[in-house]
């Protein structure tokens, strides 16, 4: 939640137009009650929830792009260190350089049009779908500097040319300021983080459902799937291709607040590929297996599984509007 500018609070109809924000923000309610002047001609407008149109070309290493995140009205400006069609490794570029330390790198004004601070310690992944627009391109030297700095931080080594002096001690205000910056930046990596933790979609959705404290039976009913089927899917024991319609998966990801992305598609693809058994095996008489008392391993033809995974992924992508 970000507070509106005083000019927005000063609009004569602010109580109506900002009612949602005012309901949750004591600071703005208190301020609104004390404003001495009202602006008569202000046109209100709301910030868009995401980019207006997908970018025409994908971001690549060395690009400086803006990124959006659900729930955040501001774009993040960041340099891309590594990229594929699913995710990007980015280092934020901050216009506020006050909190520079030995773990930050400064980019000169020529790069972006203003001096910027690259907190390489805050480098993280975002989903490819979060890219909005290209803003600039780093020189090869700058890209190398940021990549080396990022590697140095994670290797516990010193950055070659840090932007600021070393943190002096526990009382140094930069320690707490960096914690606040990290909290602020978390919103941008959260859509990617929410889709990690497993290599199949079921366990990823399970973690998300449990975070939201949604009981499995009620949840399965909500998305119109048999609870036992969903339970097995969450436990990575079931092929969604044969048991769960893509519209249920799409509904589940939306309800759980996950960003429609290629990462979801690749996780679903992995789920089908891992568990899709040859149709011929399924057709084998169940009684015969029971009589033998031995459950035969489902025969999996990798090519058939891949084809099924491709079909399921394509259908899910269409359902998610990707």
């Amino acid at each position: 939640m970000s507070c509106p500018a005083a000019i927005e609070l000063a609009a004569p109809d602010a109580e109506q137009t900002l009612s949602e924000h005012l309901q949750d923000c004591r600071r703005c309610r208190a301020l609104l009650a004390r404003l001495r002047h009202h602006e008569d001609t202000l046109e209100h407008s709301t910030a868009p929830a995401g980019p207006q149109a997908p970018p025409t070309r994908p971001p690549g290493p060395g690009g400086v792009w803006s990124f959006w995140a659900p729930g955040s009205e501001e774009y993040l400006v960041a340099a891309v260190l590594d990229a594929d069609e699913v995710e990007l490794l980015v280092v934020p570029l901050l216009a506020d350089t006050r909190w520079a330390s030995e773990n930050d790198i400064e980019l000169p004004a020529q790069t972006l049009g203003y001096p910027a601070l690259a907190p390489v310690w805050a480098g993280d992944h975002v989903l490819a779908e979060q890219s909005v627009e290209p803003l600039s391109v780093l020189s090869e030297l700058e890209l190398e500097q940021l990549s080396d700095g990022y590697d140095a931080i994670y290797a516990g080594a010193a950055i070659a040319e840090p932007a600021g002096p070393a943190v002096i001690g526990p009382a140094d205000p930069r320690i707490a300021a960096h914690a606040a910056i990290a909290d602020q930046l978390r919103a941008y990596s959260a859509p990617w983080s929410a889709l990690q933790g497993a290599e199949e979609l079921g366990p990823v959705l399970k973690a998300r459902r449990e975070d939201a404290a949604l009981p499995i039976d009620a949840w399965a009913q909500q998305i119109d799937v048999e609870p036992e089927t969903w339970r097995r899917f969450e436990s990575a024991q079931l092929d969604p291709y044969t048991a769960i319609p893509v519209r249920a998966i799409a509904a589940a990801t939306r309800e759980l607040g996950l960003l429609a992305s290629q990462r979801i598609i690749s996780l679903a693809h992995a789920s089908v590929k891992a568990h899709h058994a040859d149709q011929a095996t399924h057709a084998a008489p169940a009684r015969a297996r029971r009589r033998r008392g031995v459950a035969p391993r489902a025969r999996q033809d990798p090519d058939v599984a891949r084809e099924a995974a491709d079909r399921y992924a394509a259908a899910l992508a269409e359902e998610l509007g990707l």
Binding site: A6, C28, A33, R34, A47, L76, A95, G169, D172, A179
Partner: protein, 316 residues
């Protein structure tokens, strides 16, 4: 400015165009309205009072130095996909510009006081000349202090607690950071560690008291302050109200919640849980909050009470 015009201006500037007049006019309007509505303290004004002339001067300075000179207009446009977001960022930047100016004058004030102290008291001696002139205690070590920032910071922090003087809402001017005796004690303690140039002394003050942050050295505790200096005089009531409004406008929503948490005696951990952030962030917000209160004169218990009352309206 209309939203569609903002988006056009944004697109043009991101493509390399100069800022259109309409966008600069919107910036002037936002800055002017912030001054008129949000009770911006008079000591933030370049002229000591918020007249039309002062508003124009502050905005012209802001435009030349920060918006255009430092490229901050472009930085804001890159991050603001919509007009309301841009307006909010612009307000923050304008306020920060005024605060930076204020702190620069505070540093100059302190520099002058230290130079005067060193020159006028027999307990200090100097060798060399110009900016390399080394100052020492007349009966202290003559060897120059050779430590780096970390050593200088450690020395500055080893000198114990200092009473820091804050802005007062009725002062209408900058207050000194340290009173005379405390400044002398700080200076003597530093020079006991070795001879220093004036620049090193100023650097030590910056490290110890965060001159960019006039109150970081102090802990925020609404109960720790003496009785309010502002009584029931109508003029003082007005000043108190203005200071409270100024502080409220300068606080973020999270800082306001932190202030409420401090009043309710919530621990840092409890606050972090309630506000869904790290304890480090809460420490940062506490420090920022203390700065806002100090800068706006809202450390005065009467003003602080007024702020808390305003925040609690309809709550309890």
């Amino acid at each position: 400015m209309r939203s569609d015009r903002y988006l056009e201006a944004r697109e043009a500037m991101l493509a390399g165009a100069d800022p259109p007049d309409e966008l600069i006019a919107e910036c002037r309007r936002v800055a002017g309205l912030m001054i008129r509505t949000a009770g911006l303290p008079a000591h933030y004004s370049p002229l000591g009072v918020w007249s039309e002339e002062a508003t124009e001067e502050a905005f012209a300075d802001f435009t030349a130095e920060r918006l255009i000179g430092r490229g901050q207009l472009l930085a804001m446009l890159q991050r603001a996909p919509a007009l309301p977001v841009f307006r909010r960022m612009l307000e923050t930047a304008f306020r920060q510009h005024l605060i930076d100016r204020l702190e620069r004058s505070q540093s100059a004030n302190l520099y002058g006081r230290i130079a005067q102290l060193l020159q006028e008291h027999d307990s200090y001696a100097a060798t060399g000349s110009g900016s390399g002139r080394l100052w020492q205690l007349a009966t202290g070590p003559a060897d120059p202090f050779t430590g780096d920032d970390r050593a200088l910071g450690s020395l500055a922090f080893s000198l114990g607690e200092f009473t820091v003087v804050r802005y007062q809402p009725d002062a209408r001017k900058l207050s000194p950071l340290l009173d005379g005796d405390e400044l002398t004690r700080f200076l003597d303690g530093l020079l006991a560690g070795g001879a220093m140039t004036l620049a090193t002394v100023m650097r030590a003050l910056k490290l110890r008291f965060s001159l960019d942050d006039p109150s970081a050295a102090g802990e925020l505790d609404p109960e720790a302050h003496a009785a309010s200096g502002l009584g029931a005089d109508p003029q003082q009531i007005l000043l108190r109200r203005e200071a409270a409004t100024a502080a409220l406008a300068e606080l973020s929503d999270r800082q306001a919640e932190v202030l409420i948490g401090i009043e309710r005696k919530e621990t840092t951990r409890e606050l972090a849980l309630r506000l869904h952030c790290s304890t480090g962030t809460i420490s940062h917000e506490r420090a920022q909050l203390a700065q806002v209160l100090a800068r706006t004169g809202a450390e005065d218990p009467g003003v602080l009470k007024e702020i808390l009352d305003a925040l609690f309206i309809g709550e309890e």
